[in-house]
Symmetry: C2
Subunit: 579 residues, 2 copies
């Protein structure tokens, strides 16, 4: 995994490819690599859909190794949604197959010529680029089906749906799961639009004739560290029991209980219909129907929080939706029809839409009075409008902030133009600090303070008080930036926050794999370095401390049931990156 | 003119009014006053449609005096379109009638309660606020007609159309002309949406029982200075001949000749249909039909660049459209049907839309392939969609930048989210510097370098070269900020740039009226002070030098026929406010 594949779309007769050594980027992977490339090669003031922007794919450091839950891939670019730097992280087969094929990064760059669509086919024997106009305006499931007809079931497929082709700010890049479903997405920030703007519809990653596992420098030590790490993960109640049994949706009841489940476009913190959409209900129904609540989004995952949902007849509905998806289309829209929520998950995977952004957008549309609260059928119609690119779809596909702008509403739950996920920052103030300050725009995964605020992992910080939230968010943002570079799923954090020996095991896997001794301090330094670069990029792109704020209404409007406002001071927010 | 009328909409039973003395704002008028109030009273990071924003009306210093062409009014707020400070300037009766009624400012503030619409009726005898739900979703012409039924033909009316009520980022505030037509608009920056967000549909300014002219401190000197000033204006070829005879549309042929008439969404600098839409053609047709090309937008105007256009049957079509309107719907959209352009002017006045923003938006929509180039009927349909608030209308009504965002296009001719007017910055580089750097977002009126670059007034600076443009724009921005505070129309600049004695006469009118001796240096100091405050507000709102840039494509794409790009360096742009 020491090569870069550059695909320059600015060439007569279709994109041209060039292979390089990692060179100055040697030693970097995942988010550390995508961020380094964007910061070095993309002018911060460029238009995200213009020729100066680049799209970077980079598997984490340990992708395609025996380390558990280490198969994540980073996608980087200047975000069409936020106008800032973006790292969007996904599971599925992309990271592992890229790593097996030897690529530390794929960089798509330049100005598209003409309207033809192209696919990039990467095999052990070489790389080809071909026109694929027959895939135009296919959504992800049928697009992948067509590609599987041609390339078989072996490869992983990286595709954009219709949203990405239409260059919508809310559009994803889809990575197939191990069974070839179009379910794993680099969801946030509109990365699909950047791929669409370059005219690349699909990347085929064929791992045939490549080694299944990459070799560690220090094989014995690596094996040992992986074993200790896996033991820690499987022994922790969250990563070893809660997530495998219920998936992330286990959080509905927890956040509802905590009064932090944003309901009716962030008007309340509790949803009367929570019981109908919670994981316990979902798993009970799915078990009866023959669904599967315990499935890994990539091979070698030991938490297996994904799953498969089926309808009454046992027919595939969608993957088991994440908590944030259930929240966005459920509580946030006043919807308590669980099957319809799962159907919306499918539609959004198919068209290539971020479920968080879409859920928040639908909530705003309801607040605007365009569709009624609680109407899941109307929601589904709206998602189809996005997928088809009608005028209404163009509004919604541009995201939550744009939808609020078009309807003249103040109450858009966004930071830096990106919608807040499923935790109200007035009742979970640590994640509020993360929303406000992460270079990514509102993003829970950038520093998941919910773990400590609500789940009590890694200490105790009262979610309703401003005290201690900045330090909590800072430490988590640093750790997450590093983790996003390793290939490890961020859910391992639930465990390592509580188990120092498992954190040490994680560091040992990195040391043993690379042959370079690492310490906890090195991990922290890596995280800080990534954040510093991202902050510098954003500053040059025009971001100031005024953008490190929640919308003013969250300082003014109290959130029931606790009737708290967001009261971490501006001065404290401005101290998050004092390191 | 020493009172402030505050209208606080955050009160049970409808808005409450309060009268104050000018107090700390004493001595300020027009833009100097709106900017001072916004900078002092509005938190820069607030939402433009939220309760923290305020809407300020302030007549210029000499409104309702015998000084020629001095009846302009300033409207200030945090702009929904740009997110920065806004001063939007209009003619019509508003400035003069407010001044006669003794108000230096009307400030609308607070959080609207409920959905009722209100009108504010201001008479010499007092101020009342009344519900006016019967005016809901009336466009400006019928709204004014209804108000005239009730209040007679004496008052001036300040209204918002449907666009303002729907809180669209492209929405104006309309001021009636002396004959009661809904033709004079504070057009730029979405000020109508702020009025709409406060639930105020109309302000009735009844000047009955007020003195027609306000008295100067030094009456004789004032009379003399006004006389000298008027003589200068009427003797200058532009202000004394070109504007009265042809209106501002005289610029079509001039800009077309100069290769700076943005055509087909800023793809070319010359339009093949220019001859069909130029002022010479318009005036010839209108004279035959019985239109009137020489009309003052307010009483006492000595340039009379407005006018009245009629159809073949002599029936009113619209006011004589400005050059920027003819450009926006003409060359920019490839439309050469002059009567349809005039009809679009009417529709936009009626719905309450900025003609510049709308024209630029339609150009982007054509580039997106949604309607065909040159199709004026499709353009009119689109304007109706805006006025009705259909999904398509919601996109377009949010402005040019949002339309480009919704359709995934890079080529949006905007700065700070506001559309560029009718001068391509690659062929008129001085105005390009103004577009990039004015706190207002792309705005020719903020520093009209076209005068020197193209018309050769006040010196010579080659429009195609980067040299000298920063100094030119800087000086004009300073002078304009001051001028916008006096009530004088900025078109007097055409004359005072060339005639030192007329500039002196202008200063003398101010000195004699206020009784405080002013010099040219005082005017410069006033302008600098206004700009400094506006820059500070914007900086606190999150603007950086990255926002003082033209879109990157204008540095990359050559503009025919001169095949120039915008090449004033970033370093030079950053020096504009070094004073």
């Amino acid at each position: 995994m020491d090569k870069i594949l550059r695909i320059n779309v600015d060439a007569e007769g279709g994109p041209k490819i060039r292979e390089e050594r990692l060179g100055e980027y040697a030693g970097l992977a995942g988010r550390a690599l995508t961020t380094a490339v964007i910061c070095k090669e993309v002018p911060p003031t460029c238009h995200p859909l213009g020729p100066e922007n680049k799209l970077v794919f980079a598997p984490g450091m340990l992708c395609a190794t025996t380390a558990g839950s280490s198969g994540r891939i980073s996608v980087g670019c200047k975000s069409p949604l936020t106008g800032g730097i973006k790292e969007s992280n996904a599971g599925g087969t992309g990271g592992q197959y890229m790593a097996r094929l030897g690529y530390a990064a794929i960089i798509i760059e330049g100005q598209r010529r003409g309207d033809d669509l192209y696919k990039v086919v990467i095999k052990a024997s070489g790389v080809t680029v071909e026109k694929c106009n027959e895939l135009a305006m296919l959504s992800n499931y049928p697009c992948v089906a067509k590609l599987r007809e041609e390339y078989g079931e072996g490869p992983g497929f990286v595709t954009i749906g219709t949203a990405g082709e239409m260059r919508m700010c809310n559009s994803t890049i889809c990575f197939t799961d191990p069974e070839g479903r179009a379910t794993r997405h680099a969801g946030r920030g509109g990365v699909g639009a950047v791929m669409g703007s370059k005219g690349i519809k699909a990347i085929v990653l064929d791992p045939a004739d490549t080694p299944v596992m990459r070799k560690a420098r220090n094989a014995e030590a690596f094996k040992d560290a992986c074993k200790r790490f896996a033991k820690g993960i499987t022994s922790h109640p969250v990563t070893g029991q809660g997530l495998p049994a219920y998936g992330t949706n286990v959080l509905v009841n927890i956040l509802n209980e905590a009064g932090g489940l944003p309901t009716h476009n962030f008007k309340e913190g509790r949803f009367a219909g929570a019981e109908k959409i919670c994981a316990e209900t979902m798993v009970e129904i799915q078990k009866k129907r023959g669904g599967n609540p315990t499935h890994g989004c990539h091979r070698g995952c030991i938490m297996k929080c994904s799953g498969i949902c089926v309808d009454e007849n046992g027919k595939y509905l969608s993957k088991q939706p994440e908590y944030e998806t259930v929240w966005g289309h459920g509580a946030n829209c006043g919807v308590d029809n669980l099957d319809d929520i799962i159907r919306m998950d499918y539609l959004e995977d198919d068209y290539g839409l971020d479920t968080i952004e879409t859920g928040a957008t639908l909530g705003v549309l309801m607040e605007a009075g365009v569709i009624p609260w609680g109407d899941s059928k109307a929601c589904m119609e709206m998602i189809h409008e996005i997928g088809k690119g009608t005028p209404m779809g163009r509004i919604l596909g541009a995201g939550t902030a744009t939808t609020a702008r078009c309807y003249g509403l103040e109450r858009a739950p966004v930071v830096k133009g990106q919608a807040m996920p499923a935790y109200d920052p007035r009742a979970v103030k640590g994640v509020g600090v993360t929303y406000a300050t992460t270079p990514m725009g509102a993003d829970h995964t950038a520093g998941y303070a919910v773990a400590t605020n609500i789940l009590g992992l890694g200490g105790k910080v009262d979610p309703l008080k401003p005290q201690g939230q900045v330090e909590l968010s800072r430490n988590l943002q640093i750790a997450t930036a590093a983790l996003d570079s390793t290939g490890y799923c961020i859910f391992v954090a639930f465990c390592i926050l509580d188990q120092p020996e498992t954190f040490q095991a994680l560091i040992d896997t990195l040391s043993a794999f690379t042959g370079q001794e690492m310490t906890g301090d090195d991990v922290v330094a890596l995280g800080k370095n990534i954040l510093r670069q991202e902050r510098e990029f954003n500053a040059a792109a025009g971001f100031t401390r005024a953008h490190d704020r929640l919308p003013m209404y969250m300082r003014r409007e109290q959130l029931p049931p606790h009737n708290t406002t967001f009261d971490v001071s501006d001065e404290e927010l401005d101290s998050v990156f004092n390191f």
